[in-house]
Amino acid sequence: MADLRVNIAGVTLKNPVITASGCFGFGREYEDLYPLSKLGGVSLKGMTYQKRLGNPPPRIAETPSGMLNSVGLQNPGVESFIENDLPYLKTQDTVLIANAAGSTVEDYCRLVERLSETEIDMIELNISCPNVKEGGVAFGVSCEGAAGMVKAVRKYCKKPLMVKLSPNVTDIVSIAKAVESEGADAVSLINTLLGMRIDIHSRRPVLKNNVGGMSGPAVFPIAVRMVWQVANALSIPVVGMGGIDKWEDAVEMMMAGAAAVQVGAAMFWDPWAPVKIVEGLEHYLEEEKIEKVSDIVGTVRPWA
């Protein structure tokens, strides 16, 4: 049996497949199908210090091989999470990643401080949510914004800190470098790409928020490119996501440089997608006689 374990910033995952934030709630919704213990980890729904209502519906639009969402970080706030969801999650035998967001640097800091007191395994700092008016992506699109945030948060963060990057930027590599130099333990990418759909009959945007974040297979080539660029420039681990739909995609993303992958939108059409990807990886490694999944990370050989 091939060794599927990977290590991200000191945390060992039993396999490199993590469900992506916002696509797996707080983990209870898929337990009818399979136990969470099948997953390397779960990145939980984006959380803020205070409860947030999120944006008005419609919050989803279909696109060719993809979708837009404009949920806008609806969540019950960190205290509710700690009280109502964390105890359950702790019994599930998988790595727990809290996805942390806010409107101001102070918001992020007190959230990270609070999360650091809990039993979650890792914090994924979401400075790339395109669906909120304040905060979110505002911090993620400039080196100064991103570096400033990581620097501030780092002081309060007692957990491995992974920073989630936005693809809506000219130069993702400099932003990744900036967060690395301020002490991020890992980066994850990509969050969603900003898009829009219009209903030509009503002449109104499909999303009530007008614009939303695009994800799904459509964005996969962009994600692979960004992961490749960032992994080549950084020394900390990169967790890759964006459009991963099947095990071949996970292999491709890992060859590009991802130490682990996250799976989001694919679950909406195939709720088994993350589990199938774990199984597919296992089978692939055996077929190819590769001992450890980590042996494929970053193995793409670029043309000169």
């Binding site: 008005p56 419609p58 989803i60 060719p64 969402n69 909406f268 059409w269 709720p271």
Partner: protein
Amino acid sequence: MQYQQGSFPIVGRQEIADGIYDFKIQCPEMAEQAKAGQFVHIRCPGVTLRRPISICQIDRAAGTLRLVFEVKGEGTRNLAQLRVGDEMDVMGPLGNGFDLRKTAGKAVFVGGGIGVPPMVEAAAAYGAKAAAVLGFRDKSRVILEEDMKALGCDVTVCTDDGSYGRKGLVTDAVKELLMEGDVNAIYACGPMVMLEALATLAKEYGVRCQVSLEERMGCGVGACLVCACKTKTKDGEENYSHVCKNGPVFDAQEVVFHG
């Protein structure tokens, strides 16, 4: 509540009105679990996201679910192309379904257009104690009238243009029933304006009213939070609930219709 996901054979298929299809799928365990008002989430050929369709009827003995849907866009168009013997990739049963506790008196089942299908299984529970009020644009759109009659319901059909049944809105017919008295509950599915009008009527007459809502969906199980609808608690606090998990059936008094 348990749901499952799998590919299930289509054992029945009929076009029951222009562009409205009536499918039956063989899925014994899902049929066993299902209740009126729940829905299934279907992977349609050629499109990315699943499509939610209400459960129209449950036949536990035969192990089948009946689904009645209208062709709206690409997803339902491609779904309608499937034939008997093909498989349908379905998740379900999903959502909460109607609370069909029987009380003294009658219940009124109100369906507007393609909101009629979920009313069939719901009304079945009340049989002869059910009154059904079904509204359609015109005669050509009338569906499931005979099915409701076969359950023993007292059926009133309304059409917008009077080309069949009574002319006018379902709410007028419902109001008459309420005025007659002996109505204890209203169950409804259809356009938001209709549901809102029914909610107002129900409040006025002091009867319980449950409405089945629609919203664009992603996961269908409560994980992605896209299918939001605004609801309020008794003390007026507003929040976004989720049609797929907290619904699709809501107590009409909880729904914020202009959310």
